[in-house]
Symmetry: C2
Subunit: 702 residues, 2 copies
């Protein structure tokens, strides 16, 4: 059976065995059976229990060997110590996939980790796929397959819908299901991945991309364990124009610790995960409400590649609230055409027709005016997204039906736009507007956030393949950390330029080099054993003359010996001190999940205090590199703010792309690179690394 | 009648006249009557209408003169052109206050502004207070006084409660009322201030502080027009331990423009308003949901002065979500005592007992365990705030009653804590938990934000009077902008030190001064006509020797003449270039509403790009100045980050306090001060202004 067929069976099985089945529908081994019976699962349900001939009205089987047929899926709800043997037995019967509820594995560390490895080995030996262990399982609202022991269904089942949920946490998934049930948001399927010993959240997202009845994927993640499948899934979703909204938690230090103790996740570096999500146009939600707001609106399947927002409101105040939110989100709100503004002002002198278009409460006295204002915004404004703020007026019995009519007319005439209403009304009335094609949020800020996300999806879907990474020759790395000078030579092979410099063994040589480069110069100690020179005072700036070079040379040698008596000292590096440039930092960090990741930031205080940096997986082209640079808060410093000369961003972007190619070509040996600072000179004068540190890894997987 | 008595009559009248009363309860002049009749207002309602003897079943009067008694309040719903005369007539009858619904005043500009001035003059002549014009009015849920024509009550009335709403926008206030009605949040009274020709949002907040039946004040503001009453109200609220949560909109440029066109607000500088709110411990909410969440929780009246959060959860995932939110909010989540952690781990080996205390879903199988875990968190953890994440489990029929019981026991034993539950349940079940004293939010992030706000209130209430501002002698300002050297002399009189320097008329004098100070020096052009020297290249740094001074002197004179041929040139300033200091910026900005406001920020790129500054109204003591400095994102640069020397923060704080006193002593003549940069030397070496610009205002109110 192919891997893809195996997954298909797992997520839409025709038959299921429950190992450790219970007669009590409130117990772990009983809940799946109870739920499937209640919801009319059409496949065969085969309880396995050595002590009972019948479970919840179904014939039960004493063991795996006694099963009358090979199920598509087995649910394993037996103690941890018995799981590996159970998996072997199931694999022996040719069962393609199992869901392992049992806990007591990697999430406990130590022996648990070893036990989990035994379970995985047993499954692999039998070519069997696993969900879990330590998972609440998965369910499919459409087929009635409930391979889960979540207790959320005690409060009722959610609606069947077109949102798929992929979650690393079982309990939090239950929370999402409960909130969606309350909000009337329909679910297609939900999968909780638990310890991810085999199937990871990326596999689940990938499967949901292939499911034609799923329009939107909402994912809850504490740390991505498997980068490849995650990235494959995100790219597949992008190509299929299927939005993925992710709530990645564990941003905080505390949160990160809690995430590790909760599942066996490696808490991925949050900045790296964010960069990966951004790379593929997935949207990161910061709260549960936000994730579900975005998922709800995304089911409209309208994703403007260039999102613009037109607002029609009966309250100027709401217009201000929305404008504030849009500005913070970077959501464009172009003004209405001047002619339209003038016309609207003629119709209603009290109106503020710019955008937000404040039609004032007067339009409620004559709803044909609302129609005229609405049409002006939609047709003449040409916005891709329309937000109508109607607040409680939409619920007034005297108004509601006619309001709906006015908006429905608009929507029918311009069906390609994204329509959102901010209104407060009873559930019944809200459902009517929703049925007409208007997504409803009471809070206008939440509406704006969701609208903005649709544009992020749209821009991601529309993104064309970028420029190829600049190619660089394969550079061989030494087996231990190179000195600064060696590091610069290695980088030079990849076309990454450093500041003119020379390593000098004697003070006389240093004086000669300085005279050749011109003053002022920088002096730095050179030793393979001293990685962070500034911390030992190993860098001297602004050395102005020969006497300074002589004195500085002596000082550096002394300091190096004082701090690291065993250090091999290769000499003192003399370099021209470049003036008038902007200091940046470029770096490479080997992420354990996503491999080498490049970083760019403004130098010095920006990196240190503001954490103003951009990340991206390696390798990438100059276009991406330039986008990264321009995304920095401090980018104006490079772009000529306040009369500064414009910096050579093109040279910096090329250096960044080359660096990404350099890192990509290396294996796990390359642990990190720091080019700090990189001096970016004015346009046409290039960018030069003034310092370089390359850290060689152990090749032990880190 | 005293002013305070007038306001008391306005907000709780015994009788009301409606000028322009309508028989149609859907019309502006009819709505107040309809609502008061529907809600059993006990005072006398006197409609005034020249054409009808009876209005909505009440006897009507032909004119103000015909009123049988002097009402406590008049509602004016007549065309704008008739308002001034109506106000005169009412004032002539001794009516203490009026609510002016009519629009067409300052919000329209031009003639409308003049008409509004006439209305104000008429009211002042008769010692009458005004709400509005252009207001939807005010209402009081307790007395049944509805001096408003909002249509929100068509959808029903909200509950009577202990939250007061003060809003500059009528329609947005209606939106708040509608959302509160849906959420079951009770309202005491709501006042919409409209154009604020007389009564402003500060007056309203002040009145609500005095109202013993109001526990929480929620305010919506687009721009504070009247600083004094606003500040008085905030301080009164703080002293009365009454929380004020403010949604200040118009943060964005677009939003600001919309705010001006909406009401006649001066869009106050958002940063200044934020600083004022922070000064008095008011909390700024960013969204409607957030404002109402905070108001809801605040009705519990528990405001921890030192807020710590203990979390008990049945989902590790939720624990991570909450930890992330708490870290971003700066809400402290100390770990559980080690002994407690060990004990809990013994009870439930799968538990993660650090904090968040993840009791896992296992406690749901034996709720006495939940009780044990809960008691450990509350008693042994000693947290001031407790957040329980129960999600849907609280709604399960099999669990809910016993869960409630466990939590109720905890609350009864430790009633002084703030208890919040994050759960998903039907409205009925939520009400039960609320009745037990637990505030319920479905979204754990929203719960955390609201809890954090209670600590902000508590810290504000507990704040002791700070140090007095440093006193400085009163310094007389010139009538036009002083030169840099003059500005520094003025500041020196207030004890604000500048870098050693001398203005030199000739190159020879400059060389002599430089030799005296020591190289390198800075050269700057000195002219009262050139305020921003850097923009014309009028500053030369790092001038290293005599030849440099001579060449620089000539260059500066040339540049000044080239850029401003008419400029009076007083010479070139020679100053010692201080090294090894941190560059900061201090400034004064005269806010049109709040008067002189002091600013401090890290210098250069921090101010320019990151907008990393702190504001405070003048004057203030050294303690406040130091808090401002430490609140900067870039503060680590001053505090010795990464091996830097610690900067002389004390000297900087003293300079800032002195500057605040200097500005406070001046009137409107002082428009602004820029000390940029201020060089803050290592501890013990002081802080020196290296440049100073004082801008003299026109004295025309700007």
């Amino acid at each position: 059976m192919s891997g893809s067929e195996q997954l298909a069976r797992l997520f839409a099985p025709r038959s299921v065995a429950i190992i450790g089945a219970s007669a009590d529908p409130k117990r772990i081994g009983g809940r799946p059976i109870g739920a499937m019976l209640a919801r009319g699962f059409t496949g065969r349900i085969m309880p396995v229990n050595p002590n009972r001939p019948e479970i919840q009205g179904l014939p039960a089987y004493a063991s795996v060997a006694d099963l009358p047929e090979t199920p598509d899926v087995a649910i394993i709800a037996v103690p941890a110590a018995l799981v590996a043997d159970t998996v072997s037995a199931l694999a022996g019967r040719g069962v393609p996939a199992a869901i392992v509820f049992s806990a007591g594995f990697a999430e406990m560390g130590g022996e648990g980790e070893r036990e989990q490895a035994r379970v995985v080995a047993a499954a692999q030996a039998g070519n069997m796929r696993l969900v879990g262990p330590n998972t609440l399982g998965l369910f499919d609202m459409r087929s009635g397959f409930y391979g889960t022991f979540t207790s959320v269904f005690e409060g009722g089942f959610p609606d069947v819908g077109r949102i798929g949920i992929a979650s690393q946490s079982g309990a939090y998934c239950g929370h999402l299901v409960a909130v969606m049930r309350e909000r009337g948001l329909g679910i297609a399927t939900a999968v909780m991945t638990g310890n991810e010993a085999d199937i990871s959240i990326g596999d689940v997202i990938g499967r949901m991309v292939e499911d034609p009845e799923i329009d939107v994927i909402a994912a809850y993640a504490e740390g991505i364990n498997k980068g490849d499948s995650f990235i494959r899934a995100l790219e597949a979703a992008r190509q299929a124009r299927k939005p993925v909204v992710v709530m990645k938690v564990g941003r905080s230090a505390i949160g990160g610790a809690a995430a590790i103790s909760h599942t066996a996740s490696i808490a991925g570096d949050d900045a790296v995960t964010s960069a990966v999500l951004e790379e593929f146009g997935a949207v990161q939600a910061r709260t549960t409400d936000e994730m579900l707001d975005i998922a709800q609106l995304a089911t409209r399947k309208i994703y403007p590649a260039k999102n613009t927002l037109g607002v029609i409101t009966v309250s100027g105040g709401a217009g201000v609230v929305i404008s504030d939110a849009a500005e913070e989100l970077g959501l464009d709100m172009p003004q209405m055409p001047a002619a339209s503004q003038a016309r609207l002002k003629e119709i209603l002198p009290y109106a503020a027709p710019r955008n937000p278009v404040d039609a004032t409460a007067q339009v409620l006295n004559d709803l044909s005016l609302l129609g005229q204002f609405g049409e002006a915004v939609v047709k003449e404004g040409g916005y891709s997204s329309i937000l109508g703020f109607l607040t409680y007026t939409a619920d007034a019995p005297s108004l509601s039906a006619r309001l709906r009519e006015q908006f429905r007319l608009l929507k029918d005439a311009y069906p390609d736009r994204l329509y959102v209403l901010s209104l407060v009304a009873g559930a019944e009335r809200v459902r009517e507007f929703e049925a007409d094609g208007f997504t409803v949020f009471a809070d206008p800020t939440r509406a704006t956030v969701a609208i903005s996300a649709m544009g992020t999806f749209g821009a991601g879907f529309a993104r064309q393949p970028g420029q190829p990474p600049l190619t660089v020759p394969k550079v061989g790395l030494p087996s231990s950390n190179p000195s600064e000078a060696e590091a610069k030579k290695l980088l030079a092979q990849a076309g990454i330029a450093s500041v003119p410099e020379e390593v000098c063994a004697t003070a006389d040589a240093a004086v000669a080099a300085a005279a050749q480069f011109g003053f002022p110069v920088v002096l730095k100690i050179v030793s393979p054993d001293i990685l962070h020179k500034t911390e030992i005072g190993g860098v001297l700036l602004d050395v102005a003359d020969e006497a300074g070079v002589r004195a500085g040379f002596a000082t550096l040698i002394e300091r190096a010996k004082a701090h690291a008596p065993q250090a091999r000292i290769e000499g003192v590096l003399v370099a021209r001190q470049l003036k008038g440039g902007v200091e940046c930092i470029l770096g490479i960090h080997r992420d354990p999940v996503f491999g080498p990741v490049a970083m760019v930031g403004l130098g010095g205080v920006f990196v240190e205090i503001v954490k103003d940096v951009a990340f991206r997986r390696c390798p990438f082209g100059v276009d991406v590199a330039e986008r990264m640079i321009r995304s920095l808060k401090g980018a104006p410093l490079l772009l000529g703010a306040r009369g500064r000369p414009k910096a050579d961003i093109k040279a910096l972007a090329e250096m960044l792309s080359r660096l990404s190619s350099f890192a990509h070509g290396q294996g796990e040996k390359l642990q990190s690179i720091d080019l700090n600072p990189v001096i970016v000179l004015p346009v046409g004068h290039g960018a030069y690394a003034a310092d370089a540190v390359i850290e060689i890894g152990g090749g032990d997987g880190h």
